[in-house]
Amino acid sequence: MTELESVVQTGDDFAALMREHRAMVFSVAYHFLRDRDTAEEIAQDVFLSLHRNLGAIQSAAHAGFWLRKVAVQRSIDASRKRMRRPQVALEDVAEPVARGVPADPMLGEMLRRLIATLPETPRMVVILRYQEDLDPSEIANLMAIPVGTVKSHLQRSLALLREKLARRGVREE
Amino acid sequence: MKTTRSLALTGALACAIAAALCAQLCAQQLKLNLDHLAAKASDSVDVSLNNSMLQFAGKFLDGKDPDEAAVKKLIVGIDGIYIRQFEFKQEGAWSQADLDQILNQMKAPDWSRIVGVKSAEDGENTEVHVCNQNGKVTGVVILVSAPKRLTVANIVGNVSLDSLADLGGHFGLPRMEQPKGKKK
């Protein structure tokens, strides 16, 4: 029965990892791409990849890091394949038509929309910082970019997001 | 050689007939190109059930439950059910062009609008179109448009309008009495 148990055990490990990390993987893709269907496809692909590479995973923490890294890579790849909207700098994005002062519940949605208009790298940096609570050095390690670049993206993106939101509020007066 | 030629001709004829039948069947199934509305909608529903899915679902309908039994009977002749429903937070999210691309697909002689109802109270407009071939209904489209809502339901196949209307007696809705004979 040892052989059967080992197959079941591997299955159990994989299922446990999926339960623990599915929201993280899906959310990285969803917040980056703003498309549920594509995000689910990416998440499925990431977990299938994990299953193929399960033997190389060293620990539960390693699995989390591995999944996050692959989710980031696949999301960026998917974004590059999408030809729907060209990447524009946040400063060039037209303001949405103002219809009323946004109530607090709408603020989250507005923020998500504005984040989705950021260029790829700053967008992913913001998601990893505020969805995953990673510090700049962890983000730099994950995305293989310098820490200084991460900090610069964060600073600039936050300033732009605040400016856009503030402008929206001023227009309502 | 003659045999090969006749086989080839038979094959070509069979393909042509199949294509014609497919085109006929496909004509009752509309192309609902409304994905662009999903991005603007606060809530959206997308149901797409082809014949095999309907038959599969039918196996899970409980014959002892009156609602499910009625539906189980109804879907026997149905080849597909396709529904897109959108709700929007604000008016102006959908346009007449969105409706036109659906209405334009029902310009063939087989299609006819059998009823149109406008509600002045809530601005809701409901239309029912049917595809009638050889005296049988082979497709139904129900189009419901309101300032903040748009629903398109396309039912393909041998649809019994009486049975569909009879469903009003189920699902907690009041049953409508069927008119007894035509008024002269």
């Binding site: 591997t10 299953h51 620990s59 | -």
Partner: protein, 126 residues
């Protein structure tokens, strides 16, 4: 220190906006189903017993005494079939009920609209 408080509040709003969300309820079932079908395909391949070395590198996540690749082929196939049958049956049941609910929703929608039209027509009929 108002600016710092504002900055912290803004970052809180960003965290709220970027809270993790769950994928659809049948996500795990779909992934599991795909994984199991790949296990069957792998088990069915002709693979000489004991001819493949253990994968080099770090130790696996948990002790796995006999890696799948080294099992006797008949045993791997039997294990895969057992797992797939039970997982597949469960997944089929789930998909069937999802389809059933969609059919019921569709029929409710069509029935309610036609019923409403009938009521309106009855109201205007002399």
């Amino acid at each position: 220190m108002d600016w710092l408080e504002d900055e912290l509040k803004f970052e809180d709003e960003l965290r709220k906006a970027l809270q993790r969300q769950e994928p659809s309820p049948d996500f795990e079932a779909r992934v599991t189903s795909t994984v199991r079908s790949k296990v069957t395909a792998a088990a069915g391949q002709r693979r000489p017993v004991f001819s493949r070395p253990l994968a080099p590198g770090p130790r696996p996540l948990s002790p796995v005494p006999w890696p799948l690749g080294l099992m006797p082929r008949w045993l791997a196939t039997a294990a895969a079939v057992l797992v797939i049958t039970s997982a597949g049956a469960g997944y089929r049941y789930h998909r069937g009920h999802v389809a059933k609910e969609q059919v019921m929703f569709a029929m409710r929608l069509a029935g309610s609209q036609l019923n409403r039209i009938q009521m309106q027509m009855k109201a205007v009929r002399p």
